[in-house]
């Protein structure tokens, strides 16, 4: 049999005796590692049951994750109101799906709505008011809180980052100075400090009666730090752009904002996209730091569940489950970014 697969295998992996030896050693190591891992994860694991007693084997006890699943997703969000979170989630998925379809009619309009109307609608669905029961943010938690933190901090951080990047390259000294100070300050402070100060010091120095929600403070803190990083990523894109682009646009008599919007940013953002995705992934993972101010995101709620005396010794299960969700989300983001880059590259080549 002369299949091209076999051919490739021979060429790539077994070309010389040394290559063959290395391949075999690697295969052996993978086999030795993956067999016990798979046994623990799947074959010896317990899937069905309702309590700790169901888990007798040596494998993972996924019953724990099953029993706690809705808590990992919604936190302490009141059960009768959880349909609202589901709708918000469905909206999010539907919008993302529709936007990735390039032939969609009114795609531009939907894109604008997805960053203006939809976040407000999401906030209304999750928080309530105007006919819906109000669910305080302290009851939010789990994956839902992680997503809320990431999305809303991102919605603030991206435009702010772009403005800051432009500001840092501005000819007006005051704007340039302000941007530099903002960026250097927020980039220089550890995120955990920012969240801690926003959550604890702010209420102390604020006049009493003036209360900003704890979650909102955490979102703002995260957004400012990420905006500073985003600004530097965007600045990299701006700097990679030849001066000639701006000069040519100026020669055509275009104004500053028009040049940025039509000429500079579309090209700069394309270059900066990988770096910006990087910041976004970092933001997603940094949301776990809100645990320090007792907001229970996915990781926080998993850790809190570990203290349950009815479910002793579930550390591995909880962390593997939370880790898997984080990994899938980050992987999805980086895949999206790669596809986007490819498409933009194609557009650029045209």
């Amino acid at each position: 049999m002369k299949s091209p697969w076999l051919q490739t295998l021979r060429q790539r992996l077994f070309a010389t005796p040394v290559d063959a030896a290395i391949t075999l050693v690697c295969l052996y190591v993978v086999w030795r590692l993956s067999v016990p891992l798979l046994h623990w994860l799947v074959f010896d694991a317990t899937w069905n049951g309702t309590s700790r007693d169901a888990c007798k084997g040596d494998g993972a006890c996924w019953v724990f994750v099953r029993v706690r699943f809705s808590q990992f997703m919604y936190g302490q969000y009141p059960i009768p109101e959880r349909w609202r979170v589901d709708i918000a989630g469905a909206l999010l998925v539907a919008t993302a799906g529709l936007l990735s379809w390039r032939g969609l009619p009114h795609r531009r309009g939907l894109a604008i709505a997805s960053v203006t109307v939809l976040p407000l609608a999401g906030l209304w669905l999750l928080y309530g008011g105007l006919g819906l029961r109000i669910v305080e943010t302290r009851e939010w938690g789990g994956l839902m809180l992680t997503l809320v933190l990431t999305i809303y901090a991102g919605l603030i951080a991206v435009p702010l980052g772009i403005l800051l990047a432009l500001g840092r390259r501005s000819r007006l000294p005051l704007i340039r100075f302000a941007s530099v100070v903002f960026i250097e300050f927020w980039r220089g402070v550890p995120i955990i400090t920012v969240i801690f100060l926003a959550s604890l010091l702010l209420p102390l120095i604020m006049p009493s009666g003036f209360d900003v929600d704890r979650l909102a403070r955490a979102v703002l803190g995260l957004a400012f730090v990420i905006a500073a990083y985003m600004a530097e990523a965007v600045r990299g894109g701006l700097q990679a752009l030849p001066e000639g682009q701006t000069e040519a646009a100026q020669a055509l008599g275009l104004g500053y904002w028009r040049i940025q919007r039509r000429i500079v940013l579309p090209q700069a953002l394309r270059i900066a996209l990988p770096a910006m995705t990087n910041e976004f992934i970092a933001l997603f993972k940094n949301t776990t730091l809100v645990l320090i101010v007792s907001l229970f995101d996915l990781l926080g709620i998993a850790q809190a569940a570990l203290a349950d005396p009815a479910w002793v010794g579930m550390n591995m299960e909880a962390y593997v489950f939370a880790g898997a969700i984080y990994w899938f989300a980050c992987f999805a983001m980086s895949q999206w970014s790669r596809r986007r880059e490819k498409r933009l590259q194609a557009a650029y080549g045209r």
Partner: protein, 347 residues
Amino acid sequence: MKFYGLAAAAACSIAGSLIAGPAMAQTLAPSETLDAVKARGHIECGVHLGLPGFSFANDKGEWSGLDVDYCKSLAAAVLGDATKVKYTPTSVQQRWPVLQSKQVDLLARNTTITFSRNATLGVNFQGINFYEGQTFVVRTKAKVTAVKDLADATVCVAAGSTEEKTAADWFRERNLKITIINFQKNDDAISAYDQGRCDAYTAGLGALAGQRIKFKNPAEHQILTEVISNDPQGPTTRWGDERWQLVVRWVLNAQIAAEALGVTSKNVDEMKAKSTNSEVRRLLGVEGKFGEMMGLSNDWAYNLIKQVGNYGESYERTVGMGSALKLKRGSNELWTKGGLLFTPPFQ
């Protein structure tokens, strides 16, 4: 501060007698916190992030524990409904600022009462609802009943921990020999004990109780009731608002007094109707107007006993024999039964 307090009290009593006349002859100091609690309709209780037996939220988000029961008792006393509590889980770093910035009305979370905290942090401790202290977990078959029985034993500890120092000092002072085996991490010391490398492992009562159920066979281990350190814990308020402090303090005292007087959630109605003991009658609001003196209704203690139970009921349900932790009462037994738990009289 004192001057303003006095001035305010004086102004209030004058205003009170002018406006309300003789009906308000019993003047109450103003209480910002109590007014705020009544206006918003629930207590904001700062609790631990998650410590089984003390404050812990289960998979349905329902809180339970000894400290949580205290919060519920307070809600029952102040608002007549034990369910009117909202919990703010607080981390170690966060607890004091959260209390000071009035995000919570009080802390009921495992926090050791110390002089320097009381003197410098602007907080007051309103009594002791759990006498925490360092002790040992040993194997049941080892026939150890007191700490001194551990002479010539080996103890697993985490290197450099306060527990190591406390234990070493305790045995040195008594001229008892003990072998301490150091481990890099706490978890290593625990598993070494579980595997039989040491005769005992040492930590605080609450931590040990949580730890014991994680051992391979919890029934083979017991926790000594004797403690070698002194880490009392109880509800904590910020400075100022003396009347709120009064309420917080006497709700705890009412839990303890109810146990001492034999009033339980089951017999409280009968006691209220039939008891001839005048302290019971005062506690349950049959005699005197103790609730009104604090600005509460007179059935404040009745409500908390009926809805949450006395201290003993609460202890057994959360950390005691009726719970997974199976902690004996030890120091947390009533003073009349050889423990340290004490309340001044309701007179």
